[in-house]
Symmetry: C2
Subunit: 144 residues, 2 copies
């Protein structure tokens, strides 16, 4: 098994976003390196079809015993809808690039950080922010 | 066309919850009285399949011109995941029975009110709380 680092998976999330001409891509990875990668498709699949929701709905494709073993990579800090879903799903680690504040420069956001939502819950989740943030922020400047 | 009042629709949400032996049921209604009613199915369909998410995913079954014309009835105050989805979907009116504080007596909740999430957004949505609250709270005492 080839082990990949966080940069590898975030680059995959960035590529997924680019292919979809969206700023939002997400990859969910298990401890064996199996992954599900999905773009935001809310223009086509409705308002709940954010990238993070799309990968969480396909969790059953992964080979994992405990959801806390899973790591979700997202090009942008999850909104409260997606962060709520991540909490309910019991995901162990979240790594994102651009912040909600970054995203708010380009469109309406619900201005509540994922850390704040975690603090309102009983959940333990490791959160790392700002990975490849410049490349993730550049996604907002694609010709969509 | 027969016009129904809020109690009628909330009773439908309660019945949907009872049938599924869940405390959580939701009904989405358009201005013509067309409706989609769905229970929580998270035990079977995964952690994001809350009642409110389930009806929102079926919005396209309704005959409406503007999402702000839609009213969502829920037996329990939507969690941040569901409330985020309601905001993104542009729903105009939310009416719920039991509160998140009521629900927290019976299981883990993310302790953030739907009003607080709306205040963090640019959304206008009419929210009415406590409709048939006793009947909605009683759903938590069903033999599940």
């Amino acid at each position: 098994m080839i082990s990949h680092d966080d940069n590898f998976w975030m680059k995959m999330a960035i590529d997924i976003a680019k292919e979809a001409k969206s700023p939002f891509g997400a990859v969910l990875v298990d401890s064996e390196g199996q992954q599900v990668a999905m773009p935001n498709t809310s223009k086509f699949d409705g308002p709940t079809a954010h990238a993070e929701m799309n990968v969480l709905r396909r969790m059953d494709e992964l080979d994992y015993d405990y959801p806390e073993d899973l790591t979700l990579y997202s090009t942008v800090e999850p909104c409260p809808m997606c962060m709520g879903a991540i909490i309910w799903a019991g995901i162990g680690t979240l790594i994102y690039g651009a912040s909600i504040n970054d995203a708010a420069k380009h469109g309406d956001q619900i201005m509540l950080s994922c850390n704040e939502l975690v603090q309102r819950s009983d959940t333990d989740i490791v959160i790392k922010s700002g990975l490849l943030s410049d490349q993730c922020q550049a996604l907002f400047h694609q010709k969509l």
